[in-house]
């Protein structure tokens, strides 16, 4: 996930990213970036992420937990 984030927002300081913080605030990414991240995660992990679940992947922690439950 961090790799995909770095691809979308290479300027982001992923070292100091608070795992529970909202990615959109922490990293200055917008909703198009987030959409692209969802698509990238789907492609990379083969996990279906229905559009309605996108809000459940707004922080690093939440996204990891979500992806685990989906078998990633």
């Amino acid at each position: 996930m961090l790799e995909e984030l770095a691809r979308i927002a290479p300027e982001a300081d992923l070292e100091s990213l608070a795992p529970a913080g909202d990615l959109r605030d922490e990293l200055d990414i917008d909703s198009m970036d987030h959409l692209n991240l969802m698509i990238a995660l789907h492609r990379r992990l083969g996990v279906e992420i229905p559009e309605r679940d996108y809000p459940r992947l707004l922080s690093l922690d939440a996204a990891v937990a979500y992806l685990r439950t989906r078998g990633a």
Partner: protein, 594 residues
């Protein structure tokens, strides 16, 4: 596939639409009658802040809900007209204490918090000029816009200040104070914590007796060349905001209205603050970003009756599926409108199927200050069309003649440039400090929009494309020049050409073609990991400077870019090739891309 017109059933429930007989309304319409209806303050002023707040108190709406703010964390804050006026008055008093004079510019770089709305209205009441910036802009556009606008005061948050302003703040001599919305007493040096500062101010303030032609709002827009332009609007813009709130948004007493646009863009100010308050309705403001389920819940729970949103959001809702919408009761929704870029006919029709209401697309620009062409509540909607000109607005399709003049195209369905007869109240009054560029926007008695369009035999307008290289992405107009300039600052870049490429959600995405300086990549490494790493470094550089809303989403390398004899990069050719289209006239091409 052709989409049939959507006819309206006028016997439906709800109030009678404000515009039912288009021709008769257009004939009878006069802006002076609208001005008389709005009236003036007791001292004779025509001040938007007065008209939006104090006038409503005088009409007995003091206890009516003006603003319901929905926090990201689920909290709700309500402001009656009297309550919002009190907050605005504190801000106006604070500006006065800081020595801000009428006409001086108050910038806002802030998330959608109640303080932002109170500040906008307080600024207007104080006779100062409200200049909103989008919080997802990077430091570069923020600085440029504040320089162009001679910013006196900046309202922002502690985080946005630290990330985007602090580094260069002392290089902007006009900037006398920075107000931090969320700082406590420990605001950093050179800034002022807003909350305690406001608490010390009185909550009453007599609005400055502005003249209708006094500057009220300053928005920014990009050009294909040169610096962004500061688009000047005056207090009389309220006349058009009010008229279009009535006809294009069909606002009625008692409406709950939700404009999803951020006040950092012109829609979020003209129709996200001013038009609803001028009509005395309740406006919903959501602090959070787009989220399909959250949005449906807001429409349902707040009983939103009039909704003004944007194509990108609508297409994201479409991706989420009509089944999701079906789980919510959207019965309160009477009218749904869209602006930002042309709304594709599928989305118009989808609105009717999924929400029970078709989306009504409309067209306008930062320069026009308000809606110019629209689909109306009571009239048939032609999916894919921007609709018919507003009462009071005279539009036309023109072509530029070789002598510099323009000729109107009268036959239907011929493509030309969409133009407007000047004189509507929210028309820009200038590009700040750029008289020559302002004059260039007019010719032969027309304002030239830069958009290509056609008008069908029934008078409906259809967007065709841009006449220039401007990029329409997520409803925002991005100038390729400012993106190219930032890319060129990177030591590895020799040339950059930036275009918009079609995207199913955003309309267009910003894509950059870059030719590198010799030696930027070692021979044999023009593709592969090193190239990918450099592309990423460039992307990061651009995003850091410009912010995600303006920076490219994709960067590709070329050995060289197609150029004219004078060395101008032929973006049009890059775009034609990207789209697999005929590039058109290439007589100016001197060196091609490789």
């Amino acid at each position: 596939m052709a989409f049939p017109s959507i006819e309206k059933d006028r016997r439906g429930p709800g109030p009678r639409p404000n515009l039912t007989n288009y021709r008769a309304t257009c004939r009878a319409f006069s802006y002076d009658a609208v001005r008389r209806e709005l009236g003036r303050s007791p001292g004779g002023g025509f001040n938007i802040g007065y008209l939006a707040l104090d006038r409503q108190l005088a009409r007995g709406l003091g206890g009516h809900l003006a603003l319901r703010w929905l926090g990201r964390d689920g909290s709700v804050r309500d402001f009656s007209y009297a309550g919002l006026a009190a907050e605005a008055n504190r801000f106006a008093n604070l500006l006065r204490r800081l020595g801000v004079e009428p006409g001086q510019r108050v910038f806002a770089l802030a998330h959608r918090t109640p303080a932002l709305y109170a500040a906008a209205l307080g600024t207007l009441k104080a006779g100062a000029v409200f200049c909103p910036l989008f919080s997802q802009f990077g430091p570069e556009p923020v600085r440029t816009h504040m320089e162009i606008g001679d910013a006196s005061v900046l309202l922002t948050s502690a985080t946005l200040y630290r990330r985007k302003v602090a580094d260069w703040r002392h290089e902007l001599p006009s900037l006398r104070q920075v107000l931090l919305i969320d700082a406590a007493e420990d605001a950093p040096e050179g800034t002022l914590a807003l909350t305690p500062a406001l608490a010390a101010q009185s909550d009453s303030f007599e609005a400055v007796e502005s003249a209708p032609e006094d500057m009220a709002l300053l928005h920014f827009t990009s050009g294909t060349t040169g610096r962004p332009k500061g688009v000047v609007h005056v207090h009389d813009a309220a006349t058009h905001h009010y008229a279009t709130g009535r006809f294009a948004l069909d606002l009625h007493e008692g409406d709950v209205y939700w404009c999803t646009a951020d006040p950092g863009w012109v829609t979020g100010t003209s129709y996200g603050i001013l038009a609803p308050l001028l009509h005395g309705v309740t406006m919903i403001v959501d602090e959070a970003e787009f989220d399909a389920e959250r949005w449906y819940a807001i429409l349902q729970d707040q009983k939103v009756s009039v909704w003004y949103t944007a194509p990108t959001a609508i297409r994201m809702l479409m991706r989420a599926g009509a089944e999701l919408a079906a789980g919510y009761d959207l019965g309160a929704l009477r009218f749904a409108a869209s602006v930002g870029e042309p709304l594709n006919p599928e989305a118009v029709v989808w609105g009717r199927e999924a929400l029970g209401r078709p989306f009504h697309d409309n067209w306008w620009q930062t320069e026009t200050g308000g809606i110019m062409i629209a689909n109306y509540a009571a009239l048939p909607v032609k999916p894919g069309s921007m609709g018919l000109p507003l009462p009071g607005v005279r539009a036309g399709i023109v072509e530029r003649a070789p002598d510099g003049g323009v000729v109107e195209i009268v036959e239907p369905d011929r493509v030309g440039e969409l133009a407007l007869r000047p004189g509507w109240p929210s028309m820009m009054r200038g590009y700040l400090h750029e008289e020559a560029r302002y004059r260039k926007a007019f010719a032969g008695g027309w304002y030239l929009s830069g958009d290509l369009a056609r008008r069908d035999a029934e008078g409906y307008y259809w967007f065709v494309g841009r006449a220039d290289d401007m990029i329409k992405t997520s409803g925002h107009l991005i100038g390729p020049f400012e993106v190219e300039s930032v890319l060129m600052e990177h030591p590895a870049v020799a040339e950059a050409g930036v275009i918009g490429v079609p995207d199913p959600v955003a309309g267009e995405l910003v894509k950059a073609f870059v030719a590198l300086k010799p030696g930027a990549l070692e021979p044999g490494h023009e593709a592969g990991e090193a190239a990918e790493a450099l592309a990423r470094a460039l992307l990061g550089h651009a995003r850091k400077r410009l912010g995600p809303a303006v920076a490219p989403r994709e960067i590709v390398f070329r050995k060289s870019l197609p150029k004219t004899r004078s060395g101008k990069i032929l973006r049009r050719l890059l775009k034609a090739r990207e789209l697999g289209q005929e590039p058109g006239d290439l007589s100016t091409l001197e060196s091609d891309e490789s």
